[in-house]
Each structure stands twice: as C-alpha cells, then as structure tokens.
C-alpha cells in the first residue's frame, strides 16, 4: 500500500470517527442542556421558582402565562402536574430526565400537546439563573402565583 493510500485511509477513518462522535454529542444531554444546571440543583419548589421568575423576568413570565392560558384546560392540567412531578425529583433523577428528553423527542408526552409547556422552567439559562438566585426567599407552595389574569 502506498503512503498516499495510507494517508487517505487514516484521514477517512479520522473523519468517520469525528462524524460519529459529533452525532452522539448532539443527541446527548449536557449539564446545561436541555435543562439548565441551576434548574436541576435548585431546592426551590415550583411555586417559589415561578414567583421569582415573575419578578425577575416579568415579560418572559407573562408570555408563558399567556401561552398557557391559550391551551385547553386538560393540557394546562397535564403541564401543571408534570412540572410538580419534575420538581419533586432529586437532582440525579432530574439529570436523567434531561437525558431522556434530549435523546428521545417523544419521551415527554406533555410536549406533544404543548411544545413550550416547560419554557419558563427549562428553556432559558438567563431566566433560570436570575430566578434560582432568589427563589428561596419566596414562600413554598403558594398557589396564588398561578392566579394570573
């Protein structure tokens, strides 16, 4: 085998390896994607987080709540139940859930009814960072945060 053929073979192998590695990386979750790390480790409950987001990212919160109000009642309820279930998980289970949703777009049934069902909680690292910084200062389980007209 000539040197040229060897070089080409090595280059092809390297390229194939790079492609397959990048394929896996793009499907995998990271510590910040799709669910930000601060959401995974926060000890705040759903209502504490929401109240903090209402005050620290008010327009983002408002848009989420408007979007929510335009969903059928059963979908709103499903999203409500699902986000409470998520916040009941420990960080390890949250990280696993992040992995599951990153690798399988059909894993989260709620998302098939409402694509942005968790936007306030998962989608924006800046929003999450600001809210998780102060959420512990809000009362836990205060359902009045959902009362938004």
């Amino acid at each position: 085998m000539s040197h040229r053929a060897i070089r080409l073979g090595v280059a092809a192998a390297a390229l194939t390896s790079a492609l397959s590695t990048s394929g896996i990386a793009s499907a995998d979750a990271t510590d910040d994607y799709p669910i930000p790390h601060q959401t995974i480790i926060t000890t705040c409950d759903t209502e504490q987080y929401m109240a903090a987001a209402r005050d620290t990212s008010p327009i983002y919160f408002e848009r989420y709540m408007i979007d929510r109000s335009n969903r059928p009642a059963d979908v709103q309820q499903q999203a409500f139940d699902r986000i409470h279930w998520f916040f009941s998980l420990d960080p390890v289970a949250r990280r696993q859930y992040s992995e599951d949703t990153a690798t399988n777009v059909y894993y989260e049934n709620t998302a098939t009814h409402w694509g942005n069902w968790a936007k306030l909680f998962f989608n924006n690292k800046g929003v999450v960072a600001k809210a998780t910084d102060v959420c512990m200062n809000y009362p836990a389980g205060d359902m009045s945060v959902w009362d938004w007209h």
């Binding site: 209402r54 005050d55 620290t56 008010p58 327009i59 408002e62 009045s144 009362d147 938004w148 007209h149």
Partner: protein
C-alpha cells in the same frame, strides 16, 4: 341633502376613527421621553401593563411595591424620580383606576 348627510357621516366617521387609531403604547412611549426615559418601546409597554396586572392580581399592593418592581426591571441608570414618573405614566395610560395608590403613597410619606 343626501350628499350633505353622507358628508356629515363621513366626517363623523373620520373624527371618531382618529382616537381609535391612536396607539396607547406610542402615547406611553412619548410621555416617557418627556421624562428622559428611553429604551425599547415594546419592553416599556410590557412593563407598564405589568404594573397594572400586578396591582390587579394582588402581587403588588402599594405604589412602593410597584416602584420596587420598576427599580428591578427598568434601566438601573434611571433615577428613583424617573421610576416614579414611569409609574405615574403607566397608571395614567393603562389603568387609571389604580391612580389612587399614588395619593396613598404621598399620604404615607407625611
């Protein structure tokens, strides 16, 4: 006679249409400019309306609560006076029913 009536109706329609066509967000934005408050028109309009919503939904209870919300979410280079001017403009343009909170705040100061 018929033409006169048509002209009057058309004239009335034009007069009536003019106020309806005015954009409250533009009025609000222009008022803010007189206080030296600039920034994105849409952002300011959202925040102005949210001042009202927070009062109506019992998240904020007093003008001081509203001023705190504004201080956190408007340009941090704004003066305290500008934040109160923003509050005054938001109440006037989006929820005049809530204007009495300003008088209550003034009384609380004395």
């Amino acid at each position: 006679m018929k033409y006169t009536v048509v002209a009057l109706i058309t004239g009335a329609a034009v007069v009536l249409a003019a106020p309806a066509a005015a954009d409250p967000d533009t009025d609000f934005s222009q008022e803010l400019h007189t206080y030296g408050i600039y920034g994105q028109k849409d952002y300011n309009a959202w925040i102005g309306k949210l001042v009202c919503k927070r009062l109506n939904d019992n998240v904020d209870h007093t003008a001081f609560d509203s001023a705190t919300f504004l201080g956190d979410n408007l340009d941090h280079d704004n003066t305290t006076e500008q934040n109160w001017q923003f509050l005054n403009a938001a109440l006037s343009n989006y929820c005049p029913d809530n204007r009495p909170i300003l008088a209550h705040a003034a009384m609380a100061q004395h």
